[in-house]
């Protein structure tokens, strides 16, 4: 190869040299790890396809739930650069609100007999709607009272939301007690469905959650990309001052976005409360989940949230089952490993952009 030619056309060799050795080693390591995991999972799946399918579905449905919750979190951050540390508390609060309401509506019947649920469709939808609105409203009030006037002071806002999160959590505990309960899904929903091409059954509600998550994702995407509101949101993410200089009421946009984000936390809370349970430990759990999903996916990115939720949900589910027996309680390290892996090659998350 003549020197002129190699100088003129940067080929893969020179590109390789251009990348610092450290980063190269890092990327190589990450690739090796990912390949190893893929092979391990494939091997396990081949040995027991039934378990693989069920656990895979577990992971996907969990990912759906995580996405709904995290999408609200990332929306609020992406637009207003507010890290809403009270997000988990809002999730938990929605679950408890819905539970109270459902108990009142059904006279205590439904929540006590989920083998034979006596909840009509309304007995689930109404608590869902009310809880979402209530929690959205609380979020809105929080934003208007405490966050509106200190835009840009991110740390201070984070501290404020932490304080509010503590207070909400403590008051929820005081008023609702600590034992885990579960929301009853509507009667109209079957308990389980048969999976096609097999004799496996799978809980219907979990699949429903996955469908809702997909719908929410599409709706959010459509809103952001296709509506005027979404256009303003995108512009506001890029350049807040310019947007308000153009005469657009940016405060209204912020308020609406915060309301929407909080409502999504509420939606997650009701879905999770029906799919798993409503529990006073939820605030810590779902704050952590939101954080991890958004760290992996990148702040402010919806696609990132989807990918992050998928990664977390799958690692969570498969980790419980596919680790060697006797080590399953180390599954938390897998999640930590996932974080490290992503941050090593993409410090801002998969789709993150610098501030």
């Amino acid at each position: 190869m003549s020197e002129a030619a190699s100088a003129a056309a940067p080929d893969w060799r020179s590109r390789l040299v251009a990348v610092p050795a450290g980063t190269l080693a890092l990327r190589a390591a990450v690739t090796v790890v990912v390949a190893f995991v893929a092979v391990w999972v494939a091997y396990k799946a081949y040995g027991d396809p039934r378990t693989f399918v069920i656990v895979g579905l577990n992971g996907l449905t969990l990912a759906g739930l995580y996405f709904v919750v995290a999408s609200g979190f990332t929306l609020i951050f992406g637009l207003m650069r507010v890290v809403n540390m009270a997000h988990g508390s809002l999730y938990m609060l929605a679950g408890f609100f819905a539970l109270e309401l459902q108990t009142t509506l059904t006279g205590g019947e439904a929540t006590s007999a989920f083998g034979s649920s006596q909840a009509g469709l309304g007995d689930w939808i109404i608590p869902l709607v009310v809880a979402c609105l209530a929690v959205g409203l609380i979020g809105l009030v929080m934003q208007q009272l405490f966050l509106r006037w200190n835009q840009g002071q991110e740390l201070r806002q984070a501290l404020i939301t932490i304080a509010i999160g503590i207070i909400i959590a403590d008051q929820t505990l005081a008023h609702f007690g600590g034992i885990a309960e579960s929301l009853a899904a509507p009667d109209a929903f079957p308990e389980s469905v048969h999976l096609p091409f097999s004799d496996l059954t799978y809980p219907f509600f979990r699949i429903f959650v996955l469908l809702v998550a997909v719908a929410v994702g599409l709706a959010l995407w459509a809103m952001i990309q296709r509506t005027r509101f979404g256009m303003i949101v995108r512009a506001g993410v890029d350049d807040r001052q310019m947007v308000s200089a153009l005469g657009i009421n940016i405060q209204l946009v912020f308020a609406s976005a915060f309301f929407l984000g909080a409502m999504l936390a509420g939606l997650g809370g009701v879905l999770g409360g029906t799919m798993i349970s409503v529990d006073k430990a939820n605030d810590t759990q779902y704050l952590l989940i939101s954080l991890i999903v958004v760290i992996i996916g990148g702040m402010g990115s919806l696609a990132g949230a989807a990918l992050g939720a998928l990664a977390l949900g799958l690692v969570d589910s498969f980790g419980d089952v596919y680790l060697p027996a006797g080590y399953t309680n180390y599954s938390i390290l897998l999640i930590f490993g996932l974080l490290v892996l992503v941050l090593a090659v993409r410090p801002l998350g998969l789709f993150g952009r610098p501030a």
């Binding site: 378990t51 069920i54 656990v55 577990n58 969990l62 205590g108 019947e109 929540t111 006590s112 007999a113 989920f114 083998g115 034979s116 505990l173 007690g177 600590g178 034992i179 885990a180 309960e181 579960s182 308990e191 389980s192 059954t201 799978y202 809980p203 509600f205 979990r206 798993i276 349970s277 529990d279 006073k280 430990a281 759990q285 969570d316 589910s317 419980d320 089952v321 399953t328 309680n329 599954s331 938390i332």
Partner: protein, 474 residues
């Protein structure tokens, strides 16, 4: 406008001095009294309770603490109801309908009783902090509590540092609290978590014909104790535990663990704890179908609050525990009517272990104090002796203590049946009384055996406990 610089400075110094003095005084006042300075904190000898012998009428301070935060906070009312009932039966009056407000005019053996409130959050750290506050700051003579398994071990360890205070367990059920820690002034007047499963292994092996069992329980002390009891009994008869699954504590998505349960196993024993029980039952129903013919439950299944949550899903499940809500014994019926008149809102919770555990604790204290006429001298020697040798006639049977101050009492094999009382909640029917269950399970457990954990006790054939068919029981 400006005074002289000297005058100004003087004023400012004065202001500063005053400020510092005020702060210092507040801090010192909150800090408690000057104790003459060489660190001889004396928690008990300067309270009443008859330091000099038979000073009748000296007030006795009893601290009571359960969980007011955390997963077991909803049971606080029951624990206090149980603790206050023996006092109410001796003439005290409840301050309000809420048992945690305590009682007035409580006396035992002529001594006025002062009740001090405490609460923790099911973690050992907070429990010990609270115990220390009650003992060292509030200077209680007797402490009733704690509630959760891990708390009990920590508080029992702490009790060794305070020989002048009598500690009586609330309802914390880890085995080690008495079997390993063996503190001379820590008493437990109820069965531990392991004893609560007595009879289940026998039933599984002999009645249901199970030979291969899988256990599933949350990964912490209390399920370890429960599953240990079942495994010890079931395996000693010749049964086999093929796998033990341990979902991490706090994990509420059990679907992946349920998937791992082999489909061809005879049955499984569920030691999942309070918060997880609900989620587990529901998810199992969705993934595998009806629980009832394949499952055996631990103590949480029969708690009235949980049962209300679980509903028809668990009808038919066999479980065991230290209380029998359907007992028709006169002593038990009298006990339940006492509860109704003292705390109407707690009617029907007499069979809850939270209520019963704290009840037996306070009743034992009351009877022992009556026996020694309130003599707390000499680091409570007389009282502790009386407690150690007490034969407590409790509503559900007699309770006496072994050499580690651990209760030996009856256990009840039970089954969840369809609602018969018409309140929409399934009921619990007692199948059989297992008499005089002791902590060692016929030698399976001793201070030298490893503590129950994820792999202990090992599944081995051995000496069947005396209450099993093979052991001579029936």
């Amino acid at each position: 406008m400006r005074g002289t610089t000297e005058g100004r400075r003087a004023r400012l110094w004065a202001l500063l001095a005053v400020l510092v003095l005020v702060i210092g005084a507040t801090v010192a006042a909150c800090g408690g009294d000057d104790d003459g300075g060489d660190g001889e904190a004396t928690p008990t000898t300067d309270t009443g309770g008859g330091t000099d012998g038979e000073a009748t009428g000296e007030p006795i301070k009893i601290g009571v603490f359960a969980n007011n935060e955390g997963a077991f906070a909803p049971f606080e009312g029951q624990t206090w109801g149980g603790a206050m009932l023996p006092l109410i039966n001796r003439g005290a009056t409840p301050v309000s309908g809420d048992p945690t407000d305590g009682v007035e005019n409580a006396t035992i053996a002529g001594h006025p009783i002062e009740i001090v409130y405490g609460g923790s959050d099911s973690t050992p750290d907070k429990a010990v902090e609270e115990a220390r506050r009650l003992v060292e700051q509030e200077q209680v003579d007797i402490l009733v509590g704690p509630l959760s398994g891990s708390e009990g071990i920590a508080v029992a360890n702490y009790s060794k540092e305070q020989p002048g205070v009598t500690f009586v367990n609330g309802i914390s059920g880890a085995q080690d609290t008495t079997l390993k820690v063996r503190s001379p002034n820590f008493f437990r007047f109820h069965n531990d978590g392991t004893q609560w499963t007595a009879g289940l292994g026998d039933y599984a092996y002999n009645e249901l014909g199970w030979r291969n069992v899988v256990t599933i329980g949350d990964d912490y002390d209390f399920p370890y104790s429960q599953i240990a009891g079942f495994v010890a009994e079931f395996c000693s008869l010749g049964g086999n535990v093929t796998e033990r699954l341990w979902p991490p504590l706090g994990e509420e998505d059990y679907s992946s663990y349920i998937t791992q349960i082999p489909e061809d196993v005879d049955g499984f024993f569920m030691g999942v704890g309070g918060t997880g029980t609900v989620a587990f039952v529901k998810q199992y129903g969705q993934l595998r179908g009806n629980l009832a013919d394949k499952i055996m439950g631990g103590i949480f299944m029969t708690d009235p609050v949980i049962l209300e949550e679980l509903g028809d899903q668990v009808v038919g499940v066999v479980t065991a525990g230290m209380t029998a809500g359907d007992s028709q014994e006169p002593a038990y019926l009298e006990y339940t009517s006492q509860i109704e008149s003292a705390y109407p809102e707690l009617a029907g919770t007499g069979s809850s272990v939270f209520f019963y555990g704290y009840y037996t604790a306070m009743e034992a204290i009351a009877q022992a104090l009556e026996q020694v006429e309130g003599d707390l001298s000499d680091d409570h020697t007389a009282l502790n002796d009386a407690l150690a040798n007490l034969e407590l006639d409790a509503p559900l049977g007699t309770i006496r203590l072994d050499e580690n101050r651990q209760a030996i009492m009856d256990n009840f094999l039970q089954q969840i049946v369809e609602d018969q009382t018409g309140d929409g909640v399934p009921d619990v029917q007692t199948l059989k009384t297992i008499p005089e269950v002791d902590q060692t399970f016929a030698g399976a457990f001793s201070p030298e055996t490893p503590s129950p954990d994820r792999t202990n006790p090992p599944c081995e054939k051995g000496t069947p406990p005396p209450w099993t068919e093979q052991g001579g029981g029936g």
